[in-house]
C-alpha cells in the first residue's frame, strides 16, 4: 500500500518545495542565477569573509537551507531526496559566496556527499577558489568511538554549522573557521531512535519494516538501520538510553555547560519532544551540568519518520561565544 503524501508529482517534489520556500522567504533566500538547486543567503556573503557552503540531500528540512542566512551558512546546495547534490550546484554556491577569503564546505559524512563535494572542490580550485571541507560526524550510534571519522552527520549539524557560521561572520580566517568547525564537531554528540519508517515521494513505500511495539536505536536519518532493535520503552527509558551513550563519550564534569537539541525526525510531535526534554534536563541537573540553551522541534528530519534524536553540544567559552553570536536565517534565529 502506498503512503499518503500531499504532493503533485514525486519527481518534481524537491523543485516544487524550493519554489515554495523561495516564495515564503524572499527576504532571506534566493537561488543562484541559472542554478535553482543553489540557495544563497541574501545577506551573508561579503568581501573578505570566508563563505560557508552546506548541503546534502532533501527530505531533512529545515536542514539544510533553513540554516542559510546572515551569521550562519551563506549557501546550501540541494540534492534529490536523500541524495547528495551533484558537483555543479555545489560549485555555483561556492562561486556565489566566495569573498576572496576561501570557502568552507560542511556536510554530513556520507560517501555520496564526499564524492560530489570533492569534485566541486576540484572545480572551484580551477576557478581560484580555495574550498576546504569539514565533515560532520556527530552520530554516536554509527561507528565505535575510536572510528569517529567514520560516523554519520545527523541533527548535530545544527550546532556545528552554527559555530562555523558565527566564525565566518566574525571575519575569522579560513584556518580559524576550519579549526572552530572541527572543534564544534568534536564537541557534538547525537543519538536517535526511530519508531516508524519514512517513504520517498517517488515510491511512497515505507523504506523499512518495524513492528508495532518496536523501536530502532541509532537509526540513521535516511532510514538506514541502526545499532539495535528493541521494544518501545517509555520516554524516560528511551531518553536515558540515549543519554547514557552520549555521556559515556562526552565525559561531562560537574560545572560543565551544554546546549541541548531535542529533534523530531518528522512526525513525532512537540508534546513527546518536550517530555523527552524534561528527562534530559533532569539528567543534566543530576550530574551538575548546566543547560546554556535548548532547542526543541523539527531541525533535522527524515521525511515523515516518527522518532527523535537528542544532541548535546559540549560548550567551552569559545564555542559558547559562537553559539550566542546572532544569526538570522529563514527558519532559525538566534542572538
Amino acid at each position: 500500500m502506498q503512503t499518503k503524501k500531499i504532493i503533485n508529482d514525486g519527481n518534481r517534489a524537491v523543485d516544487e518545495m524550493l519554489e515554495g520556500i523561495l516564495a515564503a522567504h524572499p527576504r532571506h533566500l534566493r537561488s543562484a542565477d541559472g542554478s535553482p538547486r543553489s540557495i544563497i543567503a541574501r545577506d551573508g556573503p561579503r568581501p573578505g569573509k570566508v563563505g560557508l557552503v552546506i548541503g546534502g540531500g532533501s527530505g531533512h528540512e529545515p536542514t539544510f537551507l533553513g540554516f542559510v542566512g546572515k551569521g550562519l551558512a551563506d549557501a546550501a546546495a540541494i540534492g534529490n531526496v536523500f541524495a547528495s547534490p551533484p558537483p555543479d550546484p555545489i560549485l555555483e554556491c561556492a562561486k556565489a559566496v566566495s569573498g576572496g577569503a576561501g570557502v568552507l564546505f560542511m556536510y554530513g559524512n556520507y560517501a555520496g556527499d564526499v564524492m560530489n563535494f570533492d569534485m566541486a572542490a576540484e572545480m572551484a580550485a580551477m576557478d581560484d577558489i580555495e574550498a576546504r571541507t569539514v565533515l560532520t560526524t556527530d552520530d554516536v550510534a554509527s561507528a565505535p568511538r575510536d572510528q569517529r571519522q567514520k560516523r554519520r552527520g545527523v541533527a548535530g549539524n545544527f550546532f556545528i554549522f552554527k559555530a562555523a557560521g558565527a566564525a565566518c561572520d566574525r571575519m575569522l580566517s579560513l584556518d580559524e573557521v576550519e579549526r572552530i568547525a572541527r572543534k564544534a564537531n568534536d564537541h557534538t554528540f547525537t543519538m536517535g531512535v526511530a519508531l516508524s519508517a519514512c517513504s520517498l515521494p517517488q515510491t511512497r513505500r515505507p523504506n523499512f519494516e518495524i513492528g508495532a511495539d518496536e523501536m530502532e536505536i541509532g537509526m540513521g536519518i535516511h532510514g538506514e538501520p541502526g545499532i539495535a532493535r528493541g521494544k518501545l520503552g517509555t520516554a524516560d527509558a528511551i531518553t536515558d538510553e540515549m543519554l547514557d551513550k552520549i555521556f559515556a563519550e562526552m565525559a561531562p564534569k560537574r560545572g560543565d555547560k551544554v546546549a541541548v537539541l531535542v529533534n523530531s525526525l518528522g512526525s513525532t510531535p512537540l508534546m513527546e519532544l518536550y517530555i523527552m526534554n524534561r528527562r534530559v534536563k533532569q539528567r543534566l541537573d543530576d550530574i551538575g551540568v548546566s543547560t546554556h540553551a535548548t532547542w526543541v522541534g523539527n531541525y533535522c528530519t527524515s521525511l515523515e519518520m516518527a522518532g527523535a534524536s537528542v544532541t548535546l553540544f559540549h560548550l567551552d567559552e569559545e564555542l559558547q561565544t559562537m553559539l550566542d553570536h546572532p544569526c538570522d536565517c529563514a527558519m532559525f534565529r538566534a542572538g
Binding site: 540531500g57 534529490n80 532510514g223 538506514e224
Partner: protein
C-alpha cells in the same frame, strides 16, 4: 564488429530500459541495508543520459564526446553516490578510446576496463567491501581474459556478465566496508549489495545491445 556512436547510443538506451524495469527491485534491495533510493537514482541517471544522447548529432560525434555527454547528464541528474561513480566510469571509458571514430572489439574491451577502474578509483573501494566494485572488477577482468584468449566481443561480454553475477551474489557474504551500509557492520550480512545488483543489470544490457 565495429561499434559506432549509433551503437553506443543504442547501448545506453538498452541500459535505460533495463534499469527502469529493475527500479523497484533495486529500491527494495537498498531499503534493506540503505536508504531505498538506489533504483530511483539509477533510473533517473540513465533516463537523463538517454534524453541527452537523443539530442546529439551522432554522425558528427565521436565516441569520447558521446561518453562525456553521458557522464555529465548522469552526474547532474543524480548526484548521490551513483552519480560520481558512473559519471567517472563514462569519462574514463571515453578517455580510453580518445581520437577513435569507431571502436573495434579490443577498443570496447579497453573502454569497459576503464569504466570499472574509474568506479574503483572514484569510490576508493577495493573488492570485498560489498560495493558495485565487487561486480565491476571481476566483470572487467573476465572480459579482458576472454579477449586475450581471442574470443569475440559477444563472448567477452557473456563472460563479463557471468562474472558480474557471481560477484554481486558474493556480496551477500560480505560485511559492508564502504558507503551507507558500512555502519551496519554484521547486520549487512546476508543481503546483496544494491550497487552490485544494478551493475549486473547494466552489464547485462551492454551485452544484450552489443551481441
Amino acid at each position: 564488429m565495429t561499434i559506432d556512436t549509433a551503437d553506443l547510443k543504442r547501448m545506453f538506451d538498452t541500459i535505460a530500459v533495463a534499469i527502469e524495469a529493475d527500479k523497484d527491485r533495486l529500491c527494495q534491495l537498498d531499503g534493506v541495508i540503505g536508504d531505498a533510493d538506489h533504483g530511483i537514482a539509477m533510473a533517473l541517471g540513465f533516463n537523463a543520459v538517454r534524453d541527452a544522447l537523443a539530442s546529439l548529432d551522432l554522425a558528427a560525434t565521436e565516441p569520447t564526446a558521446l561518453l562525456n555527454t553521458a557522464a555529465k547528464s548522469f552526474l547532474n541528474a543524480v548526484g548521490a553516490s551513483s552519480g560520481p561513480l558512473y559519471a567517472t566510469a563514462f569519462m574514463r571509458g571515453g578517455a580510453a578510446v580518445k581520437g577513435k571514430a569507431t571502436l573495434a572489439d579490443a577498443d570496447f574491451i579497453a573502454l569497459f576496463q576503464a569504466m570499472a577502474q574509474g568506479i574503483k578509483d572514484r569510490g576508493k573501494a577495493e573488492p570485498g567491501e560489498k560495493t558495485m566494485v565487487d561486480a565491476w572488477q571481476p566483470a572487467a577482468e573476465a572480459a579482458a581474459a576472454a579477449s586475450a584468449a581471442g574470443k569475440t566481443l559477444a563472448q567477452c561480454l557473456e563472460a563479463a556478465l557471468a562474472a558480474a553475477e557471481r560477484g554481486a551474489e558474493a556480496t551477500k557474504d560480505m560485511i559492508a566496508a564502504k558507503g551507507r551500509s558500512s555502519r551496519l557492520g554484521e547486520r549487512s550480512l546476508g543481503h546483496i549489495d544494491p550497487g552490485g545488483a544494478s551493475a549486473v543489470t547494466v552489464i547485462g544490457a551492454i551485452r544484450k545491445s552489443l551481441s
